[in-house]
Amino acid sequence: MLNRRELLNHWCVGFGGLALQGLMSRQALPAGEVTSKHAVPNFPAPAKRIIFLFMHGGPSHVDLFDPKPELTRRNGEAPPFQRTRVQFAERGNLLASPWKFRPTGKSGIPMSELWQHLPEVADELCMLHSVCDTNVAHGGACMKLFTGSDSKLRPSMGSWISYGLGSENRNLPDFITICPSSLHGGVDNFGSAFLPSIHQGVPLGEPGYPNSLAKDAQFRFLKSDFATPDEQRRQLDFLQQLNRQHLETRRADSEMAARIESYEMAFRMQTAAPEAVDLAAETTATKRLYGMDEKHTENFGQMCLLARRFAERDVRFIQISHAHSLPFNNEQWDQHSHLKRGHEINVSQIDKPITGLIKDLKQRGLLDDTLVLWGGEFGRTPTAQAGDPKIIGRDHHAEGFTMWMAGGGVKGGFRYGSTDEFGYYAVKNRMTIHDLHATILHLLGIDHQQLTYRHAGRDFRLTDVYGQVANDILA
C-alpha cells in the first residue's frame, strides 16, 4: 500500500496532472491543510478540453455581434438611462456602430460586415450576449475572467481544470498558454496561486508586452546547447547510477525516488514537446486554411494551428492571446480611440484563423469534445468616449457584452441572453463571470460546487459562493 507521500510523488512526475480520477481523494496534497473535495469529473461530459481565444483589451459587442438599431437611431444623443456608478474614462453620448450587420448561417446569427470568414461557421457558434458584472479596469477584469476574483490572488481557471481533470498526456503540460501577456495580472492569470504549482499554465513563448510572436515561441530548457542527446544520455546514466545507490539506504524516501524518475521524464519530454510544436508535418492546404500564407493572419493563424495540435495531444486547457500588435492603442482591442481603424485591423487578423480552426477541428472530429471560447475581459460602451471626434472610440464596458462558444457540447447557431436596446445593461439571462465559469466547468463534466481546494481554513472554489450553469446553451 502506497503511503500518502508516495502517492503524491508517484503522480507528481507528470508535467502536470496531479489529479487522476479517484486518486486525489486520497489527499495527494502538500503538507498542511487537511482534505479537499475533488475527484472529478462528476458526470459524463461532452468536452474534454478547452481552447480559449482571449481578446485582450475588450472587443466592442455592439460593433461585432450585438446589433442595436436604437444606437443608430439616436446617434449622438445623451443616453436616456442611468450610467454605471463606477466608470473608467469620461464618457460621451450614444454612438452608432460604423458597420452594418447582416444575419449569417442558417441560424441567422447577426454579425457585422467586419466578419468576412466567420459567417461560414456561424451555425457552430453559441453567442453569449449577456456576460456582465466584471471589473471596469483591465487588470481587475482580466483577473476576474481568469481567476474569478478581481481583488485577491486566486488560482486561474486553467489550473483549476488541470487540478480537477488531470492529464491524459504525461509528456505535455495540462495547461498551455501560447504567447501570453505580461500585463494585467500577467503570469498570475495562468498561475496556480495556492493550488500545487504543477497546475500552473506553462507558457509557450515568453510572457511579454508586446507579446512574443508565435514563430519564436518555445518551451524553455527543452534542449541542451552544450551536450548532444547521446552525451546527455550518458551523463544521465552516470547521474542515475549514483542516485540509485544513494537511494538504496533511504528506501522510504519516495520523493527522492520520484526525482530519479523525473529526470527520465524530462529526457522523454525533450522529444515529445518539440514534436508537438513542429509544424513541418502540416500540409500547405492546412496552413492556408489558418491564413498562415498571409502576412496579417500569419501570427494568429500559427497560434490557432498550434492550439489544434495541442488539442490533438489532449492538452486540457489551451489559451491563445490576441494582444498587442497595434501601434495606436495599448491593448489590442482597447479602442478608446480609433474604433474604426482598430477593430478593422483586429478582426482582419483573427477572422480567417479562427474560422479555419473551427473548420479544422470539425473535419478532424475534434470539435465535439473541444470547447472553443472567444472573448475579451469586457466589452465596450455603446457610448463614445469623450474626445476628438475624428478618432472616436469607446470606453471599457463591464455591464453587458458578448462572448461566444463553439463545439464541446453547446448549441450551435444559438443566441443566449441579451442586452437592453442600447447594448448597455445585460437584461435577459444575465451571465456573470461566475456563471460563465460554472458553465465551462459543467461542459467539462465538473460540478463547480464540488471542485474545491482547502486553503487557509476554508474550501475555495473557482466560482467562490456564486455561479449558475446556463443550462439553456447545452446541446
Binding site: 495556492f194 500545487p196 529526470y263 481554513g457
Partner: protein, 1044 residues
C-alpha cells in the same frame, strides 16, 4: 374588509376642498378597486402564498431562527423592510424588484433548490405590478420575527479547541534510555517513539551533521577548510562551537530572515493587475534580516511591525527609523492599483492586511469572517470589523527617515526664522516709537507727502513715469503702463523672440496663453536679445517672470556683466497667474545696436517679457546704478526738511491718505499701530524699512529658503510605512459588500482570545499598539505556539502542527502537543529569544539523527511522524541557488542593498524580461537580496517552489516535477557554474583522484568511497567535456539537492 383604494377615496371626501373631478376619479377608482379586490386576494391565496410557504418560509419565515440574509418573506412588512440587500419589493417595476429578480436567478438564485417554473415567476411579477395585494393576515410580521438573533458561534464550545487552551506546564516523561533523557526535547520525542515501538536510528556521521547544520542555520554548505577544522577537532564542545559561530554569523539572518519574509508575503512590487515597484520595501527586508541577526525578542519584533510608528519616540533616530521601517509589514501586500472604486479598494486592502496579520501572527484565518461569521472557527463578523476598524483608522504612507542632518537643518531653520522675526519686530518697534514722539510735526510733514502723492496719481503718463524714478525704491514701468502706452520709450520684447540661446519655449503649460522661456530641463541656459536704441543713456531693465523658487542668473549688457543676481526673486508660483514685473536695475546703453544676455544654470525662472525703458535721460552715466539723482525724491526731502524719521513719516502719510484726518494727532498716532494701520504688523511696516534693514532681511530669507529646500529634500519619503488616519470604528459591510453598510462595531481584539468584555480602544489613536500588545500578551496562547511551531518547521521541514498558518478547527492537530507547549513556554521564559530556542533544538539528539531509516521504521513509521530519524528534504530555491554559487566560488556576500530599481516591474516586454533574467542570472549576491517582482518572479524561484508572495506561507511546498530536471540539465546558468567549479577543482588538486575527492568534499561535504572514485574516473575518461560534465552531474544529485 377595506381595500387601500377605497380608504383613500373616503379620506379625500372627508377632507373636502378638492375638485369634483378628482373626487369622481378617486371614487371610480375606489369602485373598481373594490371589485378587483376579491380577485386580487384570490390571486394571492392561490398563486402566491402557497409558493411562499413551500419554497421560502423555511429560510425566510418566523420559525427559521435568524432568517437567511435577515430577510423575512412571511409578511408584506418583512418584504418591504427587506434584509441585508434592502427591500425586495421595489416600485412595481420588474427591474427593481429583488424578489422577482431572485426568482429569475438574476440578482440571486432563489430558491436554491432549483429555479421555479417561468409561469410562477410571472405570477409574482404580476402580483407586484398589481401593488402586492394581500390580506390583513399577511400585512404585519408575526412577533416571533422580533426575537433576538441567535448567535451562530457557540463560544464556550469553541473555546475548548486545543489552540485556545492556555499553554500547559509540561512534566517531562520518565525515559529509561540514558541517551534520550538528557535533553527535554529528546525525552518528549523518545516517549512517543517508545510508545509506538519505533526505535530511533543512530546519530548522523560528523560530515553529515556539519553539512546539515550549515545548510539549516545559514543556508550555505561548509567549505573544505571548515569541514577539515571540524573533523580535526574531536573535543565534545566542537559542535557547540560551530553552532555558536553560525548563530553569530551575518549569514544566519539572511537565512532565517527569509523564512519570516515568507510569512509576511514580502515582495518589491504591488503585483496583481498592474505591477508597480515598491521602491522602499527593501528597507523592511533588511530590517528583518537585522532583527534575526540581533535576536530581537520576538514579541518586540511583532509590536514594531504592527505599531512601530506609535511607540514612544526616542533620542536615537536609528531606533525611531527602525520602528517606522518595521511597519512596512502592513503596507507590503498585493494591491489592485487600478481599482476604480475607492471604497472597494480600501476594503480590499484592509482585508489583505487582516488576513496576513491573522495567519502570520496568530495562525487564524480571520479573512474568512468578512462576509459572515467564520464557518469553522470562533471568529465572528463583529470580530472582523472590530479589527478592521483599527486598520481603517490607519493609512498607508511613504514616510521620510529621521537623520542627524534633518534635525540640525530643522534647528537652523528655526533659528533663522527667529532672527527674521526679531529683526522685523525690533525695527517696527523703533519706527513706532519715532512715529509716536512728535505727532504734530509728523502730521504736518505727512500732509505734504500725501499731497505730493495725490499729485503724482493725477499726472499724465510721462509724469507718472517720473514717479517711477522718483520713488525711494525702483518701480517697474511695465506695472504702470500698457504696451500701447509705452510706445517709443525704449524696447518691449517678448521673451520668446530671443535671437540666440539654449532655452525652451513653453506655450502649453507654464506659458499657457502667454508664451514663456525657460530651461530645457538642465544644463547651462542662456538667451540673447538684439535691439536698437535711439539714444545712449541710462535705461531701466525690467523682466516679467514667474518663479516659485529663486533661480538667480547673470545679466550682461553689450558683453559686460552688470548683475550676477538677476531674475532672482520669488513670485509665488510657476504659472502665468504669478507673472510679475520686476526691475533688474538701471544700466548704461548705447545708441544703435545693443545686446542683452541672460544666463543661468541649470534652471531658469519663467520669463515672459522684457522692457528696456528710457526713464531718465538726464541721469549721468556715472551715477549710481540704483539711485536716480537729480529728481525730486520728495518724501526723502520732506523728511530731511522736517527732521523726522523717513520710515515713520511714510507710515504717517499712508495713514493720512487712507484715514480720517480730523482726529486729534494722539488718536491718529494710536491708529498707526492699530489693526489695519500701516504700523500694525511687521509685514505692513516692511514697506517703510530702511534699505540696510531690508538687505539684512533679504540675506536671512535667502538662507531660510535654502534651508527649507534642504529640509524638503531630507523629508522625501524613504520608507514604506503606515500612519494613523482619522480614527473611527468600522461599519460592518453586510455580506462583505462595501455598498451595503450595516452596524458600527467598536475596535477590539478577537473575542475568543480577549473575551467579550474588552477595554475600549483609545479614541485618539488607531489602536494598533493596543492590538500589538494584546497579540503578544502572555495570556494569548496563540502567538507563542505559532512561532515556536514555525521555528520547529524551519528546522525539521514539518511543523508539530502541520498547518503552520492555520491553528483553527480545520487545521491539523499537533503531533506532539506537550513538546509544542514546552517550546512555546521556553520561548516566553527566555524573553522571546529565537536564538535561545534554536540552541536548544539544535543541541538535541533528535536534531542530530541520521536520515536513513531502519527496517523497523520503514514498517512502523514510513512518514517519520515520530522523528525517529532526520527528515531529509529538498533545499529551498534560495538555498539551492546560494549553494550552487558558493560551490562555484561566485557568491558575493557583501552585496546587500539590491533594490527593485534594478529590474523592470510594470509592463515587461520580452526584451526587458530578458534583461531581468540576465540581471538575476548575472547577480551573485545572496538570494534573499534579489528583488521580488510579483507576477514576474525569478524563473528559478518559480521552478523550485518559491512561495507566491500574495499570502503568508509558513510551510513551503516541495514539488518534484520534470521542469526542475529540465532546468538543471539544460540551463546555461547551471552549466556555467559547473564550469567554474571544475576550473577551481582542477587548479587546486593535482591528481585525478584528488580532484574527485575535492569534488565530493566541497560539493557533498564528505569523502567519496573507492567505488565512487572509480565510477567518476570512468566517466571522465569516456566524456569529451569531462570535468565540467562531472561537476554538472554532482550538482544534480539528490545528495546535493537535499538537506540530509
Amino acid at each position: 374588509m377595506v381595500g387601500p383604494f377605497k380608504t383613500r377615496a373616503f379620506y379625500w371626501v372627508l377632507r373636502g376642498g378638492i375638485s369634483a373631478f378628482v373626487l369622481i376619479t378617486a371614487l371610480s377608482v375606489g369602485l373598481r378597486g373594490q371589485l378587483a379586490e376579491t380577485q386580487d386576494l384570490e390571486f394571492f391565496e392561490t398563486k402566491i402564498r402557497p409558493v411562499l410557504i413551500e419554497h421560502c418560509f423555511a429560510c425566510h419565515g418566523a420559525d427559521s431562527g435568524t432568517p437567511e440574509a435577515n430577510l423575512r418573506l412571511d409578511s408584506l412588512q418583512g418584504m418591504r423592510q427587506g434584509g441585508d440587500n434592502g427591500s425586495v419589493l421595489g416600485d412595481r417595476k420588474e427591474t427593481e424588484s429583488l424578489l422577482v429578480s431572485a426568482l429569475q436567478y438574476d440578482a440571486f438564485e432563489m430558491p436554491p433548490s432549483g429555479k421555479l417554473p417561468a409561469a410562477v415567476v410571472a405570477d409574482f411579477q404580476a402580483w407586484i405590478e398589481r401593488g402586492t395585494p394581500a390580506p390583513e393576515s399577511f400585512q404585519l410580521a408575526s412577533p416571533h420575527g422580533e426575537a433576538p438573533k441567535k448567535p451562530t458561534i457557540d463560544w464556550q464550545q469553541a473555546g475548548k479547541h486545543w489552540a485556545f487552551q492556555p499553554i500547559q506546564k509540561v512534566t517531562l516523561p520518565e525515559v529509561a534510555d540514558p541517551a534520550w533523557r538528557q535533553h527535554p526535547i529528546d525525552a518528549l520525542i523518545y516517549a512517543k517513539l517508545a510508545q509506538a515501538g519505533v526505535q530511533p536510528v543512530n546519530e548522523v556521521d560528523r560530515h553529515g551533521l556539519l553539512r546539515r547544520v550549515y545548510l539549516n542555520l545559514i543556508g550555505l554548505p561548509p567549505t573544505v577548510e571548515e569541514i577539515q577544522d571540524f573533523i580535526n577537532d574531536d573535543s565534545p564542545a566542537a559542535f557547540g562551537r560551530v553552532v555558536e559561530s553560525l548563530l553569530d554569523s551575518p549569514r544566519y539572518g539572511e537565512r532565517w530572515g527569509r523564512h519570516w519574509l515568507d510569512v509576511v508575503r514580502y515582495a518589491d512590487s504591488n503585483g496583481a493587475d498592474e505591477n508597480h515597484p515598491y521602491p522602499f520595501a527593501w528597507r523592511y527586508r533588511n530590517y528583518v534580516i537585522d532583527a534575526f541577526n540581533r535576536d530581537m525578542p520576538f514579541d518586540d519584533f511583532l509590536v514594531e511591525q504592527l505599531a512601530g510608528d506609535l511607540l514612544e519616540q526616542t533620542e536615537q533616530e536609528s531606533l525611531n527609523n527602525r520602528r517606522l521601517i518595521a511597519t512596512s509589514f502592513l503596507a507590503l501586500g498585493i494591491k489592485i492599483d487600478a481599482e476604480q472604486d475607492p471604497e472597494k479598494k480600501r476594503a480590499d486592502i484592509i482585508d489583505e492586511q487582516l488576513d496576513t496579520m491573522g495567519r502570520a501572527f496568530l495562525g487564524m484565518t480571520i479573512g474568512c469572517a468578512r462576509c459572515h461569521d467564520h464557518k469553522f472557527d470562533p471568529i465572528s463578523t463583529n470580530d472582523y470589523y472590530g479589527l478592521s476598524g483599527i486598520l481603517r483608522s490607519t493609512k498607508l504612507q511613504n514616510r521620510p527617515l529621521e537623520s542627524a542632518e534633518t534635525l540640525s537643518v530643522a534647528g537652523e531653520l528655526k533659528s533663522i526664522q527667529m532672527q527674521i522675526n526679531q529683526l522685523g519686530v525690533r525695527e517696527l518697534g523703533r519706527i513706532r516709537t519715532a512715529a509716536a514722539m512728535q505727532t504734530e510735526l509728523y502730521m504736518e510733514a505727512a500732509t505734504e507727502v500725501r499731497d505730493w502723492q495725490r499729485n503724482q496719481a493725477a499726472l499724465k503718463v510721462e509724469d507718472r513715469l517720473s514717479g517711477v524714478v522718483s520713488g525711494d525704491r525702483l518701480q517697474a514701468v511695465g506695472a504702470v503702463l500698457d504696451r500701447s502706452e509705452f510706445q517709443s520709450m525704449g524696447v518691449w520684447l517678448d521673451a520668446e523672440s530671443f535671437q540666440r540661446g539654449e532655452a525652451a519655449i513653453d506655450r502649453e503649460n507654464y506659458g499657457k496663453g502667454i508664451g514663456i522661456v525657460s530651461d530645457q530641463g538642465g544644463g547651462n541656459t542662456w538667451v540673447e536679445f538684439d535691439f536698437d536704441l535711439p539714444e545712449s543713456g541710462i535705461y531701466q531693465v525690467e523682466f516679467r517672470y514667474a518663479a516659485e523658487n529663486a533661480r538667480p542668473g547673470k545679466l550682461s549688457i553689450n558683453g559686460l556683466l552688470v548683475n550676477d543676481d538677476s531674475m532672482a526673486k520669488v513670485t509665488g508660483g510657476w504659472f502665468p497667474d504669478k507673472q510679475i514685473w520686476m526691475v533688474e536695475g538701471r544700466y548704461q546703453f548705447q545708441k544703435g545696436p545693443n545686446t542683452l544676455r541672460f544666463e543661468v544654470s541649470p534652471n531658469m525662472s519663467h520669463l515672459d517679457e522684457i522692457i528696456v525703458a528710457w526713464v531718465e535721460p538726464a541721469v549721468k552715466a556715472d551715477a549710481s546704478q540704483k539711485v536716480a539723482s537729480g529728481v525730486q525724491q520728495t518724501p526723502e526731502k520732506i523728511a530731511q526738511a522736517f527732521g523726522v524719521d523717513r520710515a515713520a513719516l511714510l507710515a504717517w502719510a499712508e495713514l493720512l491718505r487712507s484715514g480720517n484726518t480730523d482726529e486729534p494727532p494722539t488718536e491718529l498716532a494710536r491708529q498707526l499701530s492699530e489693526s489695519g494701520g500701516p504700523l500694525s504688523s511687521v509685514e505692513k511696516a516692511e514697506a517703510y524699512f530702511p534699505i540696510t534693514i531690508l538687505n539684512s532681511l533679504k540675506e536671512l530669507r535667502l538662507k531660510q529658503q535654502a534651508l527649507s529646500q534642504r529640509l524638503q529634500e531630507l523629508n522625501q519619503p524613504q520608507v514604506m510605512a503606515v500612519a494613523d488616519d482619522e480614527i473611527s470604528d468600522a461599519v460592518v459591510l453586510v455580506r462583505g459588500n462595501h455598498r451595503n453598510p450595516g452596524a458600527v462595531v467598536p475596535r477590539r481584539f478577537l473575542t475568543i482570545v480577549a473575551g467579550e468584555e474588552q477595554a475600549s480602544f483609545p479614541t485618539g489613536q488607531s489602536g494598533r499598539l493596543e492590538l500589538a500588545r494584546a497579540i503578544t500578551d502572555g495570556k494569548n496562547p496563540l502567538t507563542a505556539r505559532v512561532i515556536a511551531n514555525r521555528i520547529w518547521r524551519w528546522h525539521f521541514g514539518r511543523g508539530l502542527v502541520e498547518s503552520t498558518d492555520n491553528f483553527g478547527l480545520k487545521g491539523a492537530l499537533p503531533t506532539h502537543p506537550e513538546l509544542l507547549d514546552f517550546l512555546a513556554a521556553y520561548l516566553i521564559e527566555n524573553d522571546w529569544s529565537i536564538k535561545v530556542l534554536q540552541r536548544l533544538i539544535v543541541s538535541s539528539r533528535v536534531y542530530q539523527l541520521d536520515g536513513r531509516p531502519s527496517e523497523n521504521q520503514i514498517e512502523q513509521d514510513p512518514e517519520n511522524q515520530l522523528y525517529g530519524r532526520w527528515p531529509s528534504r529538498r533545499m529551498e530555491a534560495e538555498v539551492l541557488r546560494d549553494s550552487l554559487l558558493k560551490v562555484a566560488g561566485k557568491l558575493e556576500l557583501e552585496t546587500k542593498g539590491a533594490t527593485v530599481s534594478e529590474v523592470t516591474t510594470a509592463n515587461p516586454s520580452p526584451g526587458n524580461l530578458a534583461e531581468n533574467r540576465a540581471y538575476y542570472e548575472g547577480a551573485n549576491c545572496r538570494s534573499v537580496f534579489l528583488p521580488i517582482v510579483r507576477t514576474n518572479v525569478f524563473r528559478f524561484y518559480g521552478l523550485f517552489d518559491f512561495p507566491n508572495p500574495a499570502a503568508p506561507k509558513g510551510n513551503r511546498d516541495s514539488t518534484t516535477v520534470p521542469t526542475q530536471s529540465l532546468f538543471l540539465l539544460n540551463s546555461h546558468w547551471v552549466r556555467q557554474l559547473a564550469n567554474e567549479w571544475s576550473q577551481k577543482i582542477e587548479s587546486t588538486a593535482t591528481t585525478e583522484t584528488k580532484r574527485v575527492e575535492r569534488l565530493y568534499l566541497s560539493g557533498l561535504g564528505r569523502m567519496p568511497s573507492a567505488q565512487e572514485v572509480s565510477l567518476a574516473l570512468g566517466f571522465i575518461r569516456q566524456e569529451p567535456d569531462a570535468w565540467p560534465s562531472l561537476c554538472h552531474s554532482i550538482l544534480m544529485l539528490n545528495e546535493f539537492l537535499y538537506i540530509e
